[in-house]
Subunit: 178 residues, 2 copies
DNA sequence: CAGATCATGTAAATTGTTACATGATTCT
DNA sequence: AGAATCATGTAACAATTTACATGATCTG
């Protein structure tokens, strides 16, 4: 379901797009929240077209197909947004690693965390750069699009960086004592 | 792969356990990072036993089977932990909703965010309570187990609460003007 | 014209969810 | 004895990944 919702959302945010466009949008915009390959996106778009959630226009240069969201599609997206869903699924390999940190040696954990902190710091810089340039290059119809998610992404990345740094320092401290 | 890693991690952290135990541990400990039902856990444990990553002891009261991690299983876990994996997968319906916030009316978005903030606040209280009582009831072999992940979970939950509150306020402000 | 990029698809395998199915043991 | 909990499993379906496959168009 979430893939479908993400696609409807991107079609709302960016306007009529091809599967190829959407695949790239997935990587560049919503990647922090959800991922999908073209091999999943193309069939899903066709299923959605068959169900009337989007329309297809087959006219482009290299067999390019342009999909556009329908009223029915917008209704589906809206229903999902307003629906009470107490069970929100969340999977994160980074958090899994955090849990499993005590399974390796303290000095290894410290090295790993320091490395992670650097990765997060680099990502943070990239996201902040995107935010700074937001007004120019955005493919969005409304300027608010992506804004809240970007803000959330920046905060989360900063949190991960700080957590990694502080946890590394803490492990180092306690390993030095014990 | 991640399911397998999570199971190996839990077997390391909690010692020999049954599939039933592990299913409950999934819910209570690692849930913030990964989820799995017993219908996925039981077959995976049997596959891991066949591959020599865990041993099985069929002796318990109600057909209970006890699984224990082997050297080979520990090596697999260790390899995963130390392995450089630049692509860490992350999926979150909450973040997806954040992205799609501008697809609904501002007043709806505000209501949704306020609701979410409350949910996160409640979860935060629960997690902080768990942290406060940690020393007593923990099933872990080492006291550090779950500690780092719990800390991360608390920070992330607090972040979501704050983000929801502040974003609600911001939307309210700009909707009032515009 | 060669290499990059655009553009779409399918097949097979893996992973994850929901639903069905069963029986033992403990608690009240 | 009946309800709750312990305990394990399978089957069907849905979602996701990896790999295979193809061809058009643009760029240098």
């Amino acid at each position: 379901m979430s893939l479908r919702i993400a696609l409807l959302g991107l079609l709302t945010a960016a306007g009529p797009s091809s599967g190829y466009d959407l695949t790239k949008l997935f990587e560049s915009s919503i990647n922090n929240a959800w991922q999908a390959r073209h091999s999943q996106i193309y069939p899903e778009l066709n299923k959605m077209a068959a169900e009337g959630l989007v329309t297809v226009e087959e006219a482009g240069p290299r067999g390019r197909k342009t999909y556009e969201i329908t009223e029915e599609g917008s209704a589906e997206l809206r229903a999902w947004m307003l629906d009470e869903q107490p069970a929100r699924m969340h999977r994160s390999e980074a958090a899994l690693r955090a849990f499993l940190l005590p399974t390796i040696e303290p000095h290894e954990a410290v090295a790993l965390l320091r490395e992670q902190a650097e990765v997060h710091a680099a990502k943070l810089a990239k996201l902040e750069d995107i935010r700074a340039r937001r007004s120019e290059n955005s493919a969005w119809r409304k300027p608010t699009f992506g804004r809240y998610a970007l803000d959330l992404g920046i905060r989360q990345t900063r949190l991960l960086r700080d957590w990694a740094e502080e946890t590394a320092a803490e492990i180092e401290r306690s390993a030095g004592q014990g």
